[in-house]
Symmetry: C2
Subunit: 694 residues, 2 copies
């Protein structure tokens, strides 16, 4: 899906009419418009109408599905066909489209027609534009130079006024800039109930936009907290009276509601009240902006207090991927975010073309950011057809530079200059360092900092070059990110080649099972029976089993993961990073292209797993080296049928409508295919037990 | 390996000396040189030497390995370093290189030095060039126009004199032209012993150049046979007194000796005498040329007399791939030839770049040819990176044209013109035809011939177009040929994509386990521990298991075959062609790049199979549809070790010499890898039996 950018519901001009979905009525709306919009309405002599579609949708039970309301309002004011005829035809279409979903749905939609007709109001347009609101944000004071001079003006829509000299010489843009685009697109946004919360972290985990943050900190930090800043006692052993806060970035939230939907806690008094609940955003803006600022300035949670190899632990790590332009409820970004939480301080990302390259680096801003000390991911997008190779190049360059830095350091050991005096133990420690855990890596960073201080004054011939390359003496984690269109199709030849080299690269495939970014064309990841572009009659061929194909190498770490089991995702990512060889993680990524409700999409993920459609497993070559079966199945035998999963998604349901016979045949074949596949995985995982040696 | 072309041993000029390996001595050689060569020797004032390296090599037991003889002779006449020093250094090198192979080999090579020194003779060069031999063949009378006007002059080395107009407008060249290049490169060539022969067909099967042919025919055909034409009673039931002949094309033979080596019959009197034996070629040329002409004019063997699904049966079919420029003993061409025997009358070949594209279509000639009625393969080479797609295009075009022809035929049924009168039964029979066997296909061809005769006179509006497309009403077999560099590496992305479409294409991968044509670079098919270009320290990573990767789709026919089991190769090719979906056959193709004796290379193939290195199997989706295990293992559990196989090939042995420690480690890892793989195949093949359902 193409990434959402800037305010939706932006004025829509038609036939010299302007219809605005607005919480302000005909009498209130004018001063809320930016001056430039006011002037345009006056200049173009537009008739201007408002309707509060969102409020009406909620009232009649349709929620955010306000298309029928807005469509009816459009026909009423546009007069392109007689309104009676329009209403008749819309209502006929409603019966045709929704009667299978039941009378209730039909009634709600008919009601939508009625409220659309009733509530569209014409605004009396004043003769002069007197708004104090400018369309530009223009408040870039205090931001980094690049934001002030280059990115800010682009955000303001004034990019065409920038001189070439405002662009970076080498095309490199600073990270951490999506935080400057306060999009304020959520109508409702989550509000934390600190009393109910069990601090499990699931709301933060599923949030596609990293707008829900968690921290544990000393109580004393609260001394200067804003009045509305919330906190409670941190749960768990050895917390020594520390506080816990779950903070929402309401201006960056898209309002998808996945956090609330997935919250496992319900109030005893009101089962609709959870530990996090949606509330209208506008009243929260100002207070929560201050609360967020305060929250971000709190120290990061002490790593000694949690185990990052768990769902909760991973969410106590600061994300280095935040506020992207991905769709509300995106099923890819939680994986990208998690990856940044676990490895952001040392990761380099080669990103294939696709959704992730769009929301990952769409001028003017990037969601990739750093942690407080400035360490963070380096990111670049390459072509669809060479992204694995691109990431492989990162690995080669890093390894060569590390090798060179080590050589220089060995030579530098002999230096007897004043600066180097007594430093040989430090240098040897750097060469011998074990960097197998985050804590050990941070220790190495400490040593390298000392080394750099020495090198700055060292007179040895190696000093200048070693100073430049010293950071390569810390472990780096190379990640190759992309979607199924890249991994299964266009980039597969290269992906296979890079995995076969044995190089230490980590591949994350966000498998939406279609080319999401370009509008949902079938890929080899599309399952049999699903409808997609170029597969209007349902995909005829089975889904390619990229995981099993890759497992045949034997020396590649392979995992299939899903948000259905966050703990397993965290485990797989950590194992992949730790494995000194190629790793492939295939993540089930729900998508608007599936024709599902994105708020409750994790339920779809669970059905995918529980039906055996998406088995969870990890294939770890290290186990084979120990004489064990390398394949560990992390999900159970199917407890629901393939149909139980598929019938909840429009991509499968569509065919039943358009070609029931074909649908039945394909659904049956697909069910059989997935059942056989699950069985094979099960057999492979049980080989040692059932069939003797390995 | 690059294809051998034209006469090897062609004059080698060095430092104004010419050294010729020749059966003629200093007094005899001059009149045997072409006039142009004589004139060049005179004009350039060359010193001219001869030596009969082949005879000397045979005498001292080195056979065709005459490099030391020729090298010593070169140092003697070139004077680039003092000859005593040269001899000393050559002999030192012999000890170093061959001492591991035993004293006998060292002695033979030392003897080679001695005979090289003794036997190089200077020719007294006459003052005028008086040879009656021309370098051009020039005898193109009676050949097709294209051969006379275009290909013949190119064969004669006069291509640069051709006008552009001599080239085909569309780049299409006629097939069946390699037969015009009588290369006469074999020093010895096989001679059939009709009394000993058991008519098994193995000599014909292993022959890389289709120079051994078999026919069964009526005795009356022998009435006008040349005097020396051999025949004997055809073996087998119901032969009704028919005769059998095994004919050798001595002028096209490369003298590899694989036929003789693989002949299973030995004379009781002399165990060195087999049913086919090598003899010097020159004395056989004239008689065998006539015998071959007579043989080719005999009718093809009646298909009712044999079962083409067997080794012997397949060799009674006329090859439509003959006399290519592939290396002597090539391990690829027997598969290409067999494919042409089984499907040549209806096959289209998309050929990836590599050895097979070089020997398959290297101007001026092509080995692809037709059967007697003119039906034969259409062949084209495409790029390395798109050959699977290229072949897929053939399939799409054929299917569309067939569909169109059927539509036209249905419309044409209604025609009441004079020509069409009474033809509706014929037309219906064409539409309903079962074409599942060769005999049924030939029947359809007969019907189409009748249809075309009718259409030539038919007045219906469909007649002209249908006449043009009528041949598409016969079944076609699309083949996609290439080596491992294409299939495992450069073209893999496309290959995977095409196989995943479910289209009815047949892929033949000739797996030499290196990029043979470009000089032996490692591919993903190269096994761990083998030395190759870019893997001088032995390949570190395991061989990619293309077969198992492809099997994961479930709906693709996959077979792994080897000349170790000809019957299984024939079976797999027939099953692949019959399967109405994608098929992949991976053929173990021994190669000079393996560092083996090409004469006895089928022994290497057998060791590959017997060690479990190259398991033979067929994975047939049709079996799964019947509820059976689709995987059938055709080879037994290893009876010899990986080392027993690998130690017989220089590609593995080399590392032991250059880096014994690394070699030991890699060989052990590789042995373990192949053992684990075989075990997995065995387990998968036994799944239903051992692990319950499927």
């Amino acid at each position: 899906m193409s990434a959402t950018r800037r305010q939706p519901g932006w004025p829509f001009f038609c036939f010299a009419n302007l219809r605005l979905n607005s919480p302000f009525n005909r009498d209130e709306v004018w001063p809320h418009l930016p001056k430039r919009v006011q002037q345009t309405i006056i200049d173009k002599k537009l008739k201007f109408f408002v309707i509060d579609g969102v409020k009406l949708g909620n009232e009649i039970g349709l929620g955010s599905r306000i298309n029928v309301i807005m469509q009816t309002a459009f026909f009423k004011i546009s007069n392109i066909i007689p309104i009676d005829q329009a209403v008749r035809e819309i209502k006929d279409a409603i019966v045709k489209s929704y009667s299978k979903a039941g009378e209730k749905v039909v009634n709600m939609n008919n009601q939508a027609v009625d409220v659309g007709l009733e509530n569209i109001q014409e605004v009396t347009v004043p003769t002069s534009a007197d708004s104090t609101i400018e369309m530009t944000i223009g408040q870039w004071a205090g931001t980094p130079d690049t934001v002030q001079n280059t990115l800010g003006p682009i955000i303001d829509g004034l990019g065409e006024n920038l001189p070439i000299s405002a662009m970076p010489d080498d095309g490199t843009f600073p990270t951490g800039t999506a935080m400057f685009e306060k999009r304020n697109i959520a109508i409702e946004t989550p509000v934390w109930d600190e009393e109910l919360c069990i601090q499990c972290g699931i709301c933060s985990f599923v949030c596609p936009h990293a707008t829900i943050r968690m921290k544990i900190y000393d109580e004393k930090e609260l001394a200067e907290a804003p009045e509305t800043f919330k906190s409670c006692a941190a749960r768990g052993k050895d917390m020594g009276g520390r506080k816990f806060t779950l903070q929402v970035a309401v201006e960056d939230c898209t309002g998808c509601g996945a956090c609330v939907y997935n919250c496992p806690v319900k109030s005893k008094e009101d089962e609709n009240h959870k530990a996090i609940n949606m509330q209208p955003q506008p009243p929260l803006r100002d207070t929560e902006r201050k609360n967020l600022d305060f929250f971000l300035n709190l120290p990061d949670t002490d790593p000694a207090l949690f185990n990052s190899a768990t769902l909760k632990g991973s969410q106590l790590l600061p994300p280095m991927f935040e506020f992207s332009g991905a769709c509300a409820g995106c099923g890819e970004t939680p994986f990208v975010k998690l990856c940044s939480q676990l490895f952001g301080d040392r990761m380099l990302v080669a990103n294939a073309t696709g959704c992730s390259s769009i929301y990952g680096g769409n001028l003017p801003s990037t969601p990739w950011t750093t942690r407080k000390d400035g360490l963070g991911p380096a990111w670049s997008n390459s072509l669809f057809e060479d992204n694995a190779e691109f990431g492989f190049g990162f690995r080669l360059a890093i390894d060569k530079t590390t090798e060179f830095a080590r050589e220089l350091l060995v030579k530098n050991m002999a230096c007897g200059c004043a600066a180097c005096k007594g430093s040989s133990e430090l240098k040897q420690a750097i060469l011998d360092a074990d960097q197998s855990s985050q804590a050990l890596i941070e220790e190495q960073r400490g040593r390298i900092k000392q080394l750099k201080a020495i090198l700055a004054k060292c007179t040895h011939e190696t000093a200048t070059q070693l100073l430049a390359d010293a950071d390569f003496l810390t472990k780096k984690s190379v990640w190759i990110h992309g979607g199924d269109g890249w991994a299964y199709d266009i980039g597969y030849g290269g992906l296979d080649h890079v995995l076969a080299t044995g190089a230490n690269v980590n591949v994350l495939v966000m498998d939406t099972e279609v080319y999401s970014n370009t509008g949902g064309q079938a890929s080899k990841a599309t399952p049999m029976a699903a409808v997609a572009q170029f597969a209007a009659g349902g995909k005829q061929m089975p889904k390619k089993d990229l995981a099993m194909m890759t497992m045949t190498y034997g020396n590649i770490y392979v995992a299939k993961v899903s948000m259905a089991n966050p703990g397993q995702v965290v485990k797989a990512m950590l194992e992949a990073d730790a494995y000194d060889g190629p790793s492939l993680i295939i993540a089930y990524s729900h998508c608007i292209a599936h024709g599902i409700n994105m708020t409750s999409a994790v339920d779809n993920c669970k059905r995918a797993v529980n039906s055996g459609y998406w088995p969870l497993f990890r294939f770890d070559p290290r186990l084979a080296a120990e004489g064990k079966n390398p394949l560990q199945l992390d999900s159970k035998a199917p407890s629901i049928s393939f149909e139980d999963f598929a019938n909840k998604e429009n991509r499968f349901r569509m065919l039943k409508k358009s070609n029931p016979e074909q649908a039945e045949q394909l659904m049956e074949a697909s069910a059989k295919d997935f059942a056989a596949r699950f069985e094979l995985y099960q057999k492979l995982a049980n080989l040692s037990a059932d069939c003797g040696t390995k």
